[in-house]
Symmetry: C2
Subunit: 284 residues, 2 copies
Amino acid sequence: MRVITTKTEMRDQVRGARGSGAAAVGLVPTMGYLHEGHLSLARRARSECDLVVMSIFVNPTQFGAQEDLESYPRDLERDVAMADQAGVDVVFHPSATEMYAPGHATWVDVEGLTDHLCGASRPGHFRGVTTVVSKLFAVCEPDRAYFGGKDAQQSLVIRRMALDLDQAVEVIVCATVREPDGLAMSSRNARLTSAERAQAPAMYRALLEAEGSIGDGERDPHVIRAAVIGRLADAPSASVDYVEVVSTSDLRPVDRIDGEVLLAAAIRFGATRLIDNLLVSPPD
Amino acid sequence: MRVITTKTEMRDQVRGARGSGAAAVGLVPTMGYLHEGHLSLARRARSECDLVVMSIFVNPTQFGAQEDLESYPRDLERDVAMADQAGVDVVFHPSATEMYAPGHATWVDVEGLTDHLCGASRPGHFRGVTTVVSKLFAVCEPDRAYFGGKDAQQSLVIRRMALDLDQAVEVIVCATVREPDGLAMSSRNARLTSAERAQAPAMYRALLEAEGSIGDGERDPHVIRAAVIGRLADAPSASVDYVEVVSTSDLRPVDRIDGEVLLAAAIRFGATRLIDNLLVSPPD
């Protein structure tokens, strides 16, 4: 496995591989501090592609001024070993100055889908995500790109972007990988205290109970939302950023649960903000 | 020469040509109603590339609600014959519904460079340009793209975009082609009345005189600007949209002419808005 740090070498590597017969190039964009969720994406890419590239880049433009850019966990050596084990061919690990030219002034914006959920809580976040993912697509020229289901809004936004900008890449969203107690895997989990870690599975449990209520016939999103928030009261370190029941097409809050909805939550456990979601369809 | 109307066929054509050994693909993006300026770009592309694609697409998203989208001149049959003569291999002529998917929501924005000149006069114009050019780059996958010097701000904005988004394309800006009386060639010239057409060369003459003043030692941009506007008083159908002396790096108005500047003007002759510019360096 190679580690590449410049955009020019990265593109040359991909084009060289294509020249040598690689029919399909897969990209797994990550911010590193890998966990089983990332590795599941890499293994899926390995099974479907001739060349598997994993980018590891903590993208500064998707963090707000008050957010956790500096404290975001990093461990490149460990990541490289894990990526190698998962079958990755190339780790692309540029610096921020390599990734963004001096005077960078161009932004990719997806309107509408970014108004709600994390887009509302984290102004400018998705602009940073769509811009850096566009750049990664341009540098790595993948046929397929793999994203985790935990970041449901991100996946929808990136799919919309790829469609709208005619980016020649298939956006593949894989199931969220969870700890045995149900907590969605996230690099940020490493920053939980042991007390917070013990409480964090409450988020997924509350979403599962909400799914159960919908299965039992509840159709009022306000009741569902209140139940999730109520259930989280059991976790004293939890504070709700948002809990929403939204349409899977435009991510707007629904008035009534008539078809498939996304139950999405962002909860702070102490200083660490975690997100999770469930896709739920009411029974016919 | 082929005329292609779908994005899928267009990309297949380019990839097929590459598979058959085309090392360099050139793209000439146009809105059609071709003139000698466009053809000079096509001939330059022909001399440098193995496959030459010309797009002909009157892009609705770069026109304001009050602007001339409906009345923009069109003549595909004539354009196709002229493109063929100039050595174009493929004309890409999508419909607006082919180009923009239903629910299109993604925009490419270049900040800063678009604040002045046409960006100030035509809010949203450059967002439409950068978005459609990004899409054309993604569909046609060119190695080189050719733009006319008349649209000086557009070229700078697109170069910035290509750099910032790592688009693997060289942006080549070619000299403005002029009528014998100096008027910059433009598809919009066809909409001038004969009286307006007779007056329109005043814009270029005024810019040339300003260049002469700078050559004679004038360093005050306000004096230059006033002289250009004063000279245009000779053309009764002319009304000034803007006349500016700006930096070639950030397109901001300069306080003093110390190095190379862009003299840029947008003038309406009757209902038709025309632009022109000169790059001027004061003598040492």
